[in-house]
Symmetry: C2
Subunit: 315 residues, 2 copies
């Protein structure tokens, strides 16, 4: 009989097909497990799958008395209360690197789409404005990429893949990262120093309490009126109210955002802006990336149920 | 007194400011010069500026009896009847390479935007579909870039810049070009062989009578149902009717198009499709690119009026 695994976050069913072939899945689909399953059912659950960004506090873990493994689908685990898990003797695993190429690709896609105004340009062609030669202030010529200063905040696997991609566009690449790397890019001592130097700030840092709202009104002002922000990490890293104000007041030129403080609820102050490109947290959403993340989830669960250390443990 | 220069195509006025500081500009703004200026005025014109894609036949040259130089703003000169110019002892110049980075950047932007479905993704966030968890068949997971086969048709300055950019996305790059180059990409003997091999066909070939509709229904079929076409060259290279049908019938997955057979009149069969990204011929439309193209135009005109060979002659 296959082992039972609780699905905690709301995932599209298609993503769980392969995992469902190996394990018996109990799908809470984003609701509190105790609302969906009986205490008896929950008492037998030893492992769960969650999306790293979903809040998973100790009180939820307490509804699962046999829980010993939390497996994150994706690289993030910022929603998981690691201290609470540790206190309860629950191990946590993730899918490191599995989605790095896909997320880095989306970061560059958002950067290019924002700086070349792809959303208003496409609308201009489709709605007849081009035929009518309508004035299009949004489509005026903007600075190009050669020589542009790209600042990458966070230099994990995703940040490094963003760097190698962006460098191919004849840009200058700099970064700020807690970890020191031997990389052919200019390293900065602080986020402030990076923001002072760069025109485009691309956020690839792991979310934590220390990075909460670390990109604020001051940071954005440093980017300048030809500046852009791209965020494919977590919405919490940016003060979203300050970002919306900076975009509205042209303190910066534009933004490309895949993540938001409250998902799936991007604020109207962002969704009403013409100078942003918005995507529904689809950074890791390619066939290859999902297959690789599912491989990691399956390997973590198989190791756990075999009584071995997780294949991809957090820390 | 500054020399007189006729502006033949319709250009945004902002693009002619620097050129207007050196020369006296007579702006026909896309109309037949004989409709805008008197025969007497035209009889004194020795040089004109045109957009390479604008049709410039011998009969228009004949309305300008003193014309001896045609200077193209941009790299293209496909609209200029070179034989007719030659017969009339008129030299032709262009702006080679000046816009290559900008055009290559837009090619990659269109490729990424099409393959990551940026237009429907942005709409999904803005129109409330994300909040409502609406099913979104257009946003299902698609193949990612690593290992993807990128076929580049035409390996001039723009094609080579597309290649170096796309290679940074962990793709395989191949190309077909009349000219042989020593490049670290796989070379194919024909467009058919390239299309058979690749998933994404990126068109960067110079337009001519030989390349008219050379990308047709057969070529598209070879790309397959995960295939994409990106065109930043000239609309005439693709059979647009065949392309619209292939996109509608899912013979290929999508397209990114900056150029169309009749500009600014993209057909409704394309503008009504959800699986395309359309831009209004803005490949070379960045500040740096315009500055570089204007430099070339000014250098060509200065050389001509000084009685010297053009700085950037065609052929």
């Amino acid at each position: 009989m296959p082992e039972k695994v609780l699905i905690y976050s709301k995932f599209p069913k298609a993503l769980m097909v392969r995992i469902g072939e190996r394990f018996e899945l109990l799908d809470a689909a984003g609701k509190p497990p105790s609302e969906v399953f009986s205490a008896e059912q929950l008492s037998t659950i030893r492992a769960m799958i969650t999306a790293g960004g979903t809040q998973l506090p100790g009180r939820v873990m307490d509804t699962l008395p046999s829980l010993r493994a939390i497996v994150c689908y994706g690289t993030g685990y910022d929603g998981v209360d690691l201290a609470a898990a540790n206190e309860r003797n629950i191990i946590v695993g993730n899918s490191p690197g599995a989605n790095a190429a896909s997320v880095a690709d989306l970061a560059v896609t958002l950067m290019l789409a924002a700086t070349r105004r792809i959303i208003p340009a496409d609308a201009f062609v489709r709605d007849g404005s081009w035929v009518a030669s309508k004035p299009s202030p949004l489509l005026r010529a903007l600075p190009g990429n050669p020589g542009r200063r790209i600042g990458i905040y966070g230099m994990g696997e995703i940040g490094r893949k963003i760097a190698s991609r962006m460098a191919a566009f004849e840009t200058e690449v700099g970064y700020f990262s807690r970890t020191k790397y031997d990389l052919p890019y200019r390293s900065f001592e602080s986020l402030d120093a990076l923001a002072e130097w760069c025109d485009v700030l691309m956020i690839a840092v792991r979310a934590s309490t220390e990075t909460h709202h670390v990109v604020n009104a001051d940071t954005l002002k440093k980017l300048g009126s030809d500046g852009y922000v791209v965020n494919i990490a977590r919405g919490s890293v940016i003060d979203e109210t300050a970002l919306a104000a900076a975009l509205k007041d042209k303190v910066i030129a534009g933004a490309g955002l895949d993540v938001f403080e409250k998902e799936p609820h991007p604020p109207g102050a962002l969704t009403s802006l013409p100078n942003v490109v918005l995507t529904p947290h689809v950074g890791g959403h390619t066939q290859d990336s999902h297959a690789a993340m599912q491989d990691c989830v399956i390997k973590n669960l198989e190791a756990f149920f075999a009584g071995q250390p997780l294949a991809y443990p957090v820390r």
